[in-house]
Structures are given as structure tokens and as C-alpha cells.
């Protein structure tokens, strides 16, 4: 479950936020926000993706830059609500 979740998040991040032709590998601990892939405005679309995909509701105050900064952190956040 954990790997599948991370794989899906990673695939979405690469698909949506990494520039075409950009030579980067997004790992589970690659910083997405501090690495310049996702900015604070784009977090809204990432949050909506997670909510739509996993049928959860992430409160705005939990959608912080730190919580969205890596695939690991995002997966932990999703798990918190899917397992709730």
C-alpha cells in the first residue's frame, strides 16, 4: 500500500510539475517546494488531486509547505486521513 501510494503521488508530481525535458529524478525525499517544483499556489491543485483520488478532505491548515515538501511527507499526510 505504502509503495503504491508513493508511486502514484510521484507519478502525478512528475507529470504535472516537472518541466518537459527537465532531467530530474523525483525521489521520495526530493524537496518539491524548496526544490522549486511546486509553489505555494500550486499546492491547491496537488491537494485537490489527493482529495479526489483518495476520497479524503485535508483541512487547509494541514496543507502546509512542510507537509507537501516531499513524496514521503505527502504520503504520510494522505495516510493520516485514509486511515482515520
Amino acid at each position: 500500500m505504502a509503495d503504491e501510494l508513493k508511486d502514484k503521488i510521484r507519478a502525478y508530481v512528475v507529470d504535472e510539475y516537472v518541466e518537459e525535458g527537465e532531467d530530474v529524478e523525483v525521489k521520495d525525499d526530493t524537496p518539491l517546494i524548496s526544490g522549486g517544483f511546486v509553489d505555494s499556489f500550486s499546492m491547491v491543485s496537488l491537494k485537490l488531486f489527493l482529495e479526489t483520488e483518495y476520497g479524503i478532505k485535508i483541512p487547509d491548515e494541514k496543507a502546509t509547505a512542510e507537509a507537501f515538501d516531499t513524496v514521503n511527507a505527502i504520503a504520510a499526510l494522505v495516510r493520516q486521513y485514509t486511515e482515520a
Binding site: P31, I33, S34, G35, D39, S40, F41, V44, E66
Partner: protein
């Protein structure tokens, strides 16, 4: 004692010649801004002083550059442009993240006599194209990460002769592109700086309006006089300060007060490549002993949300003056910052067009929490009646207006003379914002006077968003408005009527949101989409954006029949 001392005395005695004298402006060999940022500081004995402390996005590398290095790297960029044949007056776009090259190339472009056109690195193809096409930009300085966006639109930009990638190292350049490594380039000890006059164009910044494409506000080298003295009096910058302006130079704050004003004063600046991230921000203040911090209300409200505990984990004792800009700063934020940092944020007001701070709270002056403050000495401001364009009585809502003539004021909208002239009425420049002024002369922001959306301090035009929405295959009709938001002041909300065969669900919503983000920018991307069966329209078939906006703001719209005739 602050630099400004008594606001009332300064206001009474003020003359721009004071700033000129301090800069030895009239005796300077050139009025070129770059000279004042680099050469003049070296001549004043500040060559070895740190001009820029830069930390990379990952936070694992810091570099420092002196004013002499700023001069030399600026020379290298200027020489590059001259060697490529970029002529004075041509527009050279800086399309980069906040890396040191952004700052060096800004100085270099001005030294070469070209016009610097900084664009926010979050812009995607359509936003980039609109601005490069309008400016007839001849060169773009960019990075590997962003070059693809320029390549995608290059065929449609016949004026664009040079694409220069600054971080490609020794890799071979693609056909039609140039690689430049400022650190490896032949040092240029002396460069023959373009002899700019006060009215020579310097910087072109794009800003959004209600209708049509974004407009390029053109500034001149003479703006320095106002940017220098406002940085000195509002930001209260002194010789031993470490100053941090969190704005990106893709926006006017990032150039006027993230480059020009502070460096004209010889101030050491901190630049973080990183965007907003509370823990890292506080760590940076502590690590680099930041003394003066210029930030934005959205960031401050987000820091409020993070709470006081995270503040207590850091030593922020170096801070001595806090200033805010971009949107009105709510009273709670002023009070909170005083409680938590022991210092209040001082709100300041200005725009791309004004080029410098025009209304502000000053160190030493009583802050009325939630107020924009008072006009800068030398700036005549008023609140005008929207119909007669005459000053209103205290407490009455009207339009913020400024008497033209201060040095940093924009000189034109690029290739858009009519819109420029429409900004002036009865000898006043009309800012496009509504406010009141109280009995004590403090200004209080009420809202925009048009449909432009202010989200997180960035202005976004609804027309640009609506046009992008209509390009999505599912969208039949659209309207974009600013929805009030506790953190960002406003967020973009789109109303969408779908074409037959498309379902109004979260998947469609996400698809449309991502579509706009990739076409324009994350800032212009709707944060919310409401599906409607059809849009309210005027008799002539125009979508009633104002009605939709009133629904969001809770504003009484009254009889809609007048709107129907719009």
C-alpha cells in the same frame, strides 16, 4: 533615532534635492542606476563589503558577493550583451529563479543601456509569450530549468534574437542559444557604462488590468532618487544592517527594494532562493542575523497560522525593523507581530506604476493598526470622489490619487498610450484603489476600484484567466473574480459553464485548474471553480462578472437591471 526622524518635520521641509545631494547625483559621471549600485559603492570604499548573501533552495549552500564582485559580474553581463549586439533601449528579459545571476544580470543589462524586463519564474508559456511579444524583447537570460518554456514559444517571437542560458556550465548550447557562465567568463575590469540620463528607460515591469493583456509599466534611471530615499526612510536601512526583502524581482518590490534602493545605500542584502517556508525563514533570520525584514501580508498571515511556538525555537533578536507591502495588512497581523517578535510590521503602499513607496507607516510614527499610514514626504496624495475627482471629506470612501511628478513614477505603458492617459484625471494619477483618509491624515485601504484580483500581493487580470479557461475543451463560458480569503486577501475563483457531454465533478475541476496553471502561472490558476448551468449576462450578452463577485464578497448589488444594460 530612525533615519527619517520626525515625519512631520520631514514632510514640511522635504525637497527631492536632499536625496540628490546625498547621492552626489548632480555631479555623478552618469545617471545610470547600475553605476550607483556598483561603481559608486566601490568608490566610497565599500568594494569589500558584502552586497549579497545568497542561500540556495536546498539550504545547504551559502555564497557571499562583495560590491566589487557585483561590479565585476555586472560588467561581464554587460560585455556579453554588447558582444551579442544588444543595442541600448532593447528589452532584455531576466527569466530566472532567485539565483545570484539574476542580480548580476540586472546590473549588467542597465550598464549596457538596455531595458531590464524581469519576469516571474513561475510564468508558463502563455504568460511569458504575452509579455515578451508586447515588449518586442530581443534577448532572454534564463536557466536550464526554465529554458524549455522559452523554446516552446520562440517561433512566435520574431524579435527574440538571443536566448542565453546561464547555468548550463560547459555543456554544448543548442542551436540558436548561448551558454554563459559568469564565474568562468573573462573578467571585465572596466566597462564603458552606457551614459544614461534621468529620463533614459531602465526597467519594464508588467502589471495586470481588468481588460486586455497585461501592461508594461516603463521606468527610468531617474527613479533611483526616490527608491534611495524611500529605502532609507521607510526601510530605515543603515550601514551595518543585514536586510532581507522576500519579494521576487519578477515583481516591482523585488527590483525597487530587492535591488535598487538597498544597494544604492550600500546595504548588505540576504536573498533566499527558496519561496515561503516558515521553519527555513526563521532559521535564515537567525543564521544571517537579519536586522530589517520587508515581507508581505500573505506571508505574515501564514506565519501567524504557524503560531508562536516555532518563533520561540529561534533567536530572532537581531531584528529591529519590520515592513510589509503588497496588500493591506490587517490589524491582527500588526498586533500579533508586536506580541511575538516584539516589533510591529509597518505597512507600506505602492504599485508597479509608482515605482516607489508612496504611502507608509514610518519608524517612530504612531502606527494605527490596519492603516496604510501617511504619504511619503514629497508625495501629494488625496482621496477623490469617483465622479467629480475632487478630494472627499475625511472618512468618505474615494479613489486614491497622487499628484504626478515624483522621480520613480512610470513614464508610459509600453505601446499602450491610451491606457496610460486614462490613468490621469484633473491633474491626478488615479491608482485604481479605494480608501478613506481620517482626521489625522492616515489612509485606510478599502479595496480595488476595478476587477483586478490581488492574490497574495500579486495582481492578476480576470480577462487573461477567462481567456485561458475558454481554451479548455470542456469550458463553454467562464468568469474569474477575486474571492475574499483570510490568508491571500483574495484568491482566484472561476465560474464555469461546461459544454454538453462534460461532467461537473472534481476530476473536471482539477483538469481545468491544472490547464490554467500550465498555460499562465500558478498565481493565475483558479483556487476554486464553481460550475454553473449558465452565466448571468447583460442584455448585450456580456457575462456579469460584477454580480458574481458581489455574491462572493457579500456586497449589496441592488437593482441588477442597470448591470444588465452594461
Amino acid at each position: 533615532m530612525s533615519n527619517i526622524g520626525s515625519y512631520d518635520k520631514r514632510r514640511k521641509d522635504f525637497d527631492w534635492s536632499q536625496a540628490r545631494e546625498e547621492l552626489a547625483y548632480d555631479d555623478a559621471p552618469t545617471k545610470n542606476i547600475a553605476y550607483f549600485l556598483a561603481e559608486r559603492n566601490c568608490e566610497r570604499g565599500l568594494g569589500d563589503k558584502v552586497a549579497l548573501i545568497w542561500e540556495n533552495a536546498a539550504g545547504d549552500a551559502t555564497r557571499q558577493f562583495t560590491f566589487d564582485q557585483l561590479r565585476l559580474y555586472g560588467n561581464a553581463y554587460a560585455q556579453l550583451l554588447r558582444d551579442l549586439g544588444v543595442a541600448p533601449g532593447e528589452r532584455v528579459c531576466i527569466f530566472m529563479d532567485k539565483i545570484p545571476d539574476l542580480y548580476f544580470s540586472f546590473v549588467g543589462i542597465l550598464k549596457a543601456g538596455a531595458i531590464a524586463q524581469p519576469l516571474f519564474s513561475a510564468f508558463r508559456e502563455d504568460s511569458l509569450f504575452t509579455r515578451l511579444e508586447n515588449a518586442q524583447t530581443t534577448a532572454v537570460l534564463t536557466m536550464k530549468r526554465l529554458a524549455g518554456r522559452v523554446r516552446h514559444i520562440r517561433d512566435k517571437l520574431p524579435a527574440l534574437k538571443h536566448v542565453i542560458v546561464v547555468d548550463a556550465g560547459g555543456a554544448e548550447a543548442r542551436e540558436g542559444e548561448t551558454h554563459f557562465d559568469v564565474y568562468a567568463a573573462e573578467p571585465v575590469e572596466a566597462f564603458d557604462i552606457y551614459p544614461a540620463g534621468e529620463e533614459t528607460p531602465s526597467v519594464l515591469h508588467y502589471t495586470s488590468g481588468t481588460t486586455g493583456a497585461p501592461k508594461g509599466a516603463l521606468h527610468v534611471h531617474g527613479s533611483l532618487v526616490a527608491q534611495y530615499i524611500t529605502a532609507k526612510w521607510v526601510l530605515d536601512l543603515r550601514d551595518d544592517d543585514v536586510y532581507w526583502c522576500t519579494a521576487d524581482p519578477g515583481w516591482v518590490t523585488g527590483t525597487s527594494y530587492g535591488i535598487i534602493g538597498p544597494w544604492a545605500l550600500g546595504t548588505t542584502q540576504l536573498v533566499l532562493e527558496l519561496g515561503f517556508m516558515p521553519e527555513r525563514w526563521y532559521a535564515a533570520i537567525e543564521k544571517y542575523r537579519v536586522t530589517v525584514w520587508y515581507s508581505a501580508p500573505t506571508a505574515i498571515r501564514l506565519l501567524m497560522r504557524e503560531g508562536a511556538e516555532i518563533v520561540r525555537r529561534h533567536d530572532l533578536g537581531s531584528l529591529r525593523h519590520l515592513v510589509s507591502v503588497g496588500e493591506p495588512l490587517n490589524p491582527e497581523a500588526v498586533i500579533w507581530s508586536e506580541d511575538v517578535y516584539g516589533l510591529p510590521f509597518h505597512d507600506s503602499f505602492w504599485q508597479t506604476e509608482t515605482g516607489c513607496i508612496v504611502i507608509s507607516n514610518y519608524p517612530g510614527m504612531r502606527i494605527k493598526a490596519g492603516s496604510m499610514g501617511k504619504p511619503f514626504p514629497g508625495i501629494e496624495a488625496a482621496v477623490l470622489d469617483a465622479k467629480t475627482f475632487r478630494p472627499v471629506k475625511a472618512g468618505t470612501v474615494g479613489l486614491i490619487a497622487l499628484r504626478p511628478g515624483w522621480p520613480a513614477m512610470f513614464r508610459q505603458y509600453w505601446r499602450n498610450e491610451e491606457t496610460y492617459h486614462n490613468k490621469f484625471v484633473n491633474g491626478w494619477y488615479i491608482c485604481g484603489d479605494r480608501a478613506t483618509v481620517d482626521e489625522d491624515g492616515y489612509y485606510w485601504f478599502v479595496g480595488r476600484d476595478d476587477d483586478v484580483i490581488n492574490t497574495g500581493g500579486h495582481l492578476v487580470g480576470p480577462f487573461e484567466i477567462e481567456s485561458a479557461l475558454l481554451e479548455h475543451p470542456a469550458v463553454a463560458e467562464s468568469a474569474a473574480v477575486g474571492k475574499p480569503d483570510p490568508v491571500n486577501l483574495e484568491v482566484v475563483k472561476a465560474f464555469v459553464a461546461l459544454k454538453p457531454g462534460y461532467e461537473a465533478n472534481d476530476k473536471t475541476r482539477l483538469d481545468i485548474i491544472n490547464f490554467v496553471r500550465k498555460k499562465l502561472s500558478p498565481i493565475a490558476m483558479p483556487q476554486e471553480i464553481e460550475f454553473m448551468a449558465s452565466m448571468p449576462k447583460t442584455r448585450s450578452g456580456k457575462i456579469m462578472r460584477r454580480l458574481l463577485k458581489a455574491r462572493e464578497t457579500g456586497e449589496e448589488i441592488g437593482d441588477t437591471s442597470t448591470l444588465e444594460d452594461d
